[in-house]
């Protein structure tokens, strides 16, 4: 072996090491690396770009395309919401979410085990709703059970009852009173699982959710929500004791989401009883932070982060914080009718986050629910694309 080759090979080894350790090692070996560059360059050289060949001389080669599949070591747990009679509950239908082995809708990696589901929000207080939504529920705002029945007409996969009347702002109802309503709604509506939510009051929610959990023992509802800002331990213990799931709320906070899951499991709550809500935001109002935290959480989970391998839930209803969703045509004539704008905003936010990993979408507007479900079903179906019709768009007369 010639001396020159020797040096070249040595140079290569050093470079490999440098690359392996990245910039960390750089300072110590900077000079060496610099000196070696000239020797090494020839071996690193890429083939020169081919000079242009005349198109006339070319023919189409067959170029096989290998599907760039990726195997991920991690897997999302499957969470069941609702329990049938034989399982100790009273639901005619249960919902399963999670179980993914690939990023959302990367069917070429892995088909999705369970489809994302849509829940419709019901409130136990005649909350002020934006007009495009209010008009659909005007007659049932005072009666949560009638409201829930009405919501079911729009065929969501499940519903969520938010016990906001327990908040001091909306009447300060006692946990006991709230639990009574929970019992009643479970008796009157058996077709779908019903998620139970608090009012968002950090002091009251653990008490309210605990009381609710007790009266529907065994129904495997999801208690919404536990967070690091409330007595999550109490909620977790209630879920364990009465056989429910917990929705774990964090605030666009990747480490915070992990920490909360860890603590909930520390209270004895099994991993497959946790759903994460990393906080949603409307398009135009911080959507990108929600989008990216969803994507980060899901990718980290697939890459093996055990503390994040839970399904994701999103309060898509947050879309209505966007004034683009509700501002009247009088105030924003250039935006067009809010009857379209509103549901489109909610559907866009929901579908957008579904593509980022949202498994459970909590929604409000019937049309938005319809669109999201339609798109979801389009994405789940195995039907193949009709390639032959494709170019029709060029010559269509619209």
């Amino acid at each position: 072996m010639s001396g020159e080759e020797e040096i070249r090979r040595l140079g290569k080894t050093i470079l490999e090491i440098l690359e392996k350790f990245g910039e960390l090692e750089l300072e110590n070996v900077e000079i060496e690396a610099e000196e070696l560059v000239l020797n090494i360059l020839p071996t690193l050289a890429r083939p020169p770009a081919a000079p242009g060949v005349s198109l006339e001389e070319l023919t189409l080669e067959t170029v096989p395309f290998e599907i760039p599949r990726e195997e991920f070591p991690g897997e999302i747990v499957e969470v069941q919401i609702g329990a049938t009679k034989s399982e100790g509950g009273s639901r005619k239908k249960v919902i399963k979410i999670g179980g993914e082995k690939a990023p959302p809708f990367y069917r070429f990696d892995y088909p999705m085990k369970n489809k994302p589901v849509v829940s419709m929000d019901v409130f136990d207080y005649p909350i002020r709703l934006p007009k495009p939504i209010r008009q659909h529920f005007e007659d049932v705002l005072e009666d949560p059970i009638a409201w829930a029945k009405k919501a079911l007409e729009f065929e969501p996969d499940l519903i969520t009852l938010h016990l906001i009347s327990t908040s001091p702002e909306y009447g300060d109802k006692s946990p006991k009173e709230a639990a009574k309503l929970v019992e009643e709604i479970y008796q009157q509506i058996k077709d779908v699982p019903i998620i139970i939510g608090g009012s968002g009051d950090n002091k009251k929610d653990p008490l309210v959710l605990e009381a609710a959990a007790e009266v529907i023992e065994g129904e495997r509802t999801a208690l919404s929500t536990a967070s690091l800002a409330n007595d999550y331990a109490r909620i977790a213990r209630a879920a364990v004791e009465y056989g429910h799931n917990v929705i774990a709320l964090s605030f666009i906070d990747f480490p915070g989401a992990k920490e909360l899951n860890n603590r909930l499991m520390g209270e004895g709550l099994p991993k497959d009883r946790i759903i994460m809500d990393p906080t949603s935001a409307a398009v135009g109002y911080g959507y990108q932070y929600a989008f990216s935290v969803f994507e980060r959480i899901r990718l980290a989970a697939l890459k093996g982060e055990e503390l994040l391998q839970m399904p994701i839930s999103g309060g898509i209803t947050n879309a209505w914080a966007a004034r683009e969703a509700w501002l009247s045509q009088k105030k924003a004539p250039e935006w067009g009718p809010p009857e379209y704008r509103g549901p489109l905003w909610e559907a866009t936010t929901g579908i957008g986050l579904m593509l980022a990993g949202c498994d459970l979408l909590m929604m409000l507007h019937p049309a938005a629910v319809k669109i999201v479900k339609t798109i979801r079903d389009f994405l789940i179906s195995d039907k193949k694309a009709e390639v032959s019709m494709f170019y029709n768009w060029v010559s269509m007369k619209v």
Partner: protein, 597 residues
């Protein structure tokens, strides 16, 4: 996983002299900036002037070319760059070139309709929190099959718009006719397929324009055409793998787009390392515009809008869109803006007290969080319409609703921010306005600070109106310095300045008293009297409603000189003895202080 170029890869190709000509202290520092795309290779002058670096420079150029190569459509100020992306997930770095929105027209549209549409596309503009959304390009479709007709249409478009163009036809003759008219504009041509690739490729070469390679649902064929084009030295290619909408078809579309992007970025596939064209307009394919009902059109517009947004999230670099209604475009335009925001910029602004307009010591104080988007919305909504102070609370860059739920915006954290800002010195009143979404903090904040807490609107758009229509002291009784049942009672208006210019000095002078606020809806006594809204009856009702009679043993009411003429009427209607004090607040403080019950 994604293999990004490392600084070291770049560093070892740089001259290594640390000559600082690039404006950085060392070649290594410059290498870092190149990778962050914060510096341009041209800044390293030696690379371009000294022939001995020529081969290194070429390698650097190659190395720094992003895995999805950039393609420029159009010329001059209106030119758009598509592609140039390096990652699949924005949190890994950032996305660079926002998806281009191209709107279609076709060559059989009546002339007036065509021109109106072209103008609307070119002038389309939505202003949103300091940002302006526009449409970026026009796609001219040939529906006539007639080259002359197409050329005529392209000519009208060129005459009426400066926007970049996409010429769409599968017939090379049609494309050439269009190119003859529009060649100066460097349009993108659509499309080279397995049937016409040679002719269309030659057009791309002859006119030096970017070209779409199209192979619907067939990545293999896509690659083979691209391979041939690259061999032929064609430098600007856009990929059309087909956009399909409907059951299962949509899933295929997402799969194909995602596979192509993953192959380009994570597997280093150069043939697929070109920008992707998505065609939401396909939802209209097979429809006859004339026979569509209004309801059908709306449904299609809904679906097209959703398809735009999905394709933006799934790597499309340019879209051809049919619907031109703002309501349908607003959502995907906004989503594009969101997705292409640089995630390396933290979404928090500096907390503290800020000025909205030119506030003074009597201006209202608004509270918000330090989430940048909320902050800019509030600023945008209020500035120019009202002068106010904005107290930005450090919520860790989280919005109000989440900050209240997550415990970073609490009564204590607001109280703390008030103290830190020295608010007591900045304003002479003691009223603070919290966001409607933080309404639940009102009671606790009043207890923690002793200030009057007003709950503002839930959406900051409502702030100017709120300030005009409901920002004043609420009718009621306010105790100063824990007054006893023998403390004096003073009547004031609900006007912020009039009320607090008595109440605050009273407290500062350590005078105990009750202040009864008359509901004048923000008017001063003088104004309310002038408008005939103050009378003995009005005051009597006010005393009744506030229940002051239960709080004190005496029946003596101090009023300012403004009410001099009404004093006897007030006395007779209320049954209280009325003492007329001075008009000036400073003198009134002394008057109250020395008042004998």
């Amino acid at each position: 996983m994604s293999e990004r170029v490392k600084p070291l890869d770049v560093y070892r190709l740089l001259p290594g002299t640390n000559c600082k000509e690039c404006g950085y202290d060392s070649c290594m520092a410059f290498a870092y900036k190149l990778i962050q795309r914060e510096a341009k290779l041209e800044q390293c002058k030696p690379l371009f002037t000294d022939p001995k670096y020529e081969s290194a420079r070429k390698k650097l150029e190659e190395l720094l070319t992003p895995p999805v190569r950039p393609v420029v459509i159009g010329v001059g100020d209106n030119a758009v760059t598509i592609g140039g992306e390096e990652v699949m997930y924005r949190h890994e770095l950032t996305f660079y070139n926002p998806t281009v929105f191209a709107i279609d027209v076709h060559d059989e549209m009546p002339e007036d309709e065509l021109i109106a549409r072209v103008k609307r596309i070119s002038e389309f503009k939505i202003e949103r929190v300091g940002q302006v959304y526009r449409l970026d390009a026009i796609a001219v479709r040939c529906t006539s099959g007639n080259p002359a007709k197409f050329a005529e249409c392209v000519r009208k478009v060129v005459e009426n718009s400066q926007l970049p163009l996409i010429l769409c036809s599968l017939d090379p003759k049609v494309l050439e006719a269009g190119l003859e008219v529009a060649k100066e504009r460097k349009p993108l041509i659509y499309a080279a397929t397995k049937d016409n690739w040679k002719e269309v490729g030659k057009l791309a070469q002859k006119y030096n324009v970017p070209v779409v390679v199209s192979a619907p649902g067939d990545i293999s064929t896509l690659k083979s055409i691209v391979r041939a084009f690259m061999k032929a030295g064609i430098k600007e290619i856009v990929l059309d793998p087909g956009t399909f909408f409907g059951e299962g078809q949509l899933a295929d579309t997402l799969d194909i787009f995602t596979m192509i992007r993953r192959a380009a970025i994570e597997k280093g596939d150069k043939e697929l390392g070109w920008p992707l064209l998505g065609i939401p307009a396909v939802v209209w394919a097979g429809k006859d515009g004339a026979s569509l009902s209004e309801a059908e059109k709306i449904e299609l517009a809904f679906m097209e809008s959703i398809l735009c947004s999905m394709l933006i999230e799934r790597f499309a670099d340019i879209l051809i869109i049919h619907t031109l209604d703002t309501w349908s475009l607003l959502a995907p335009l906004t989503l594009r803006q969101d997705i292409y925001t640089d995630p390396r910029i933290h979404p928090a602004v500096e907390p503290g007290l800020k000025k909205l307009g030119n506030p003074n010591e009597w201006s209202p104080v608004l509270v918000t969080c330090n989430f940048a988007i909320t902050y800019h919305l509030v600023r945008n909504d209020v500035e120019g319409k009202a002068d106010a102070w904005l107290l930005v609370v450090d919520t860790g860059g989280i919005n109000v609703e989440s900050a209240v739920a997550g415990g970073t915006m609490t009564a204590d954290s607001i109280a703390e921010a008030m103290k830190e800002a020295g608010l007591e010195k900045v304003v002479k009143h003691r009223a603070i306005i919290i966001p409607g979404l933080a309404a639940r903090l009102k009671g606790e904040l009043e207890d923690a600070t002793g200030w009057d807490v007003h709950v503002g609107p839930r959406d900051s758009a409502g702030i100017p109106e709120f300030l005009r229509k409901s920002y004043w002291v609420r009718e009621g009784v306010y105790g100063v310095k824990s007054p006893s049942e023998n403390a004096p009672v003073v009547l004031t208006s609900s006007n912020i300045k009039e009320h607090y210019s008595l109440r605050v000095p009273l407290a500062e002078a350590n005078v105990s008293a009750w202040i009864v606020v008359l509901g004048t809806k923000g008017k001063t006594l003088e104004e309310a009297i002038k408008d005939g809204e103050v009378s003995g009856d009005a005051v009597a009702q006010c005393l009744d409603r506030t229940g002051i009679a239960n709080l004190v043993k005496h029946r003596k009411l101090i009023v300012s000189e403004d009410l001099k003429d009404l004093a006897s009427d007030i006395a007779s209607k209320t049954g209280w003895e009325v003492a007329v004090g001075p008009k000036e607040p400073e003198k009134m403080v002394d008057f109250v202080k020395n008042f004998k019950i």
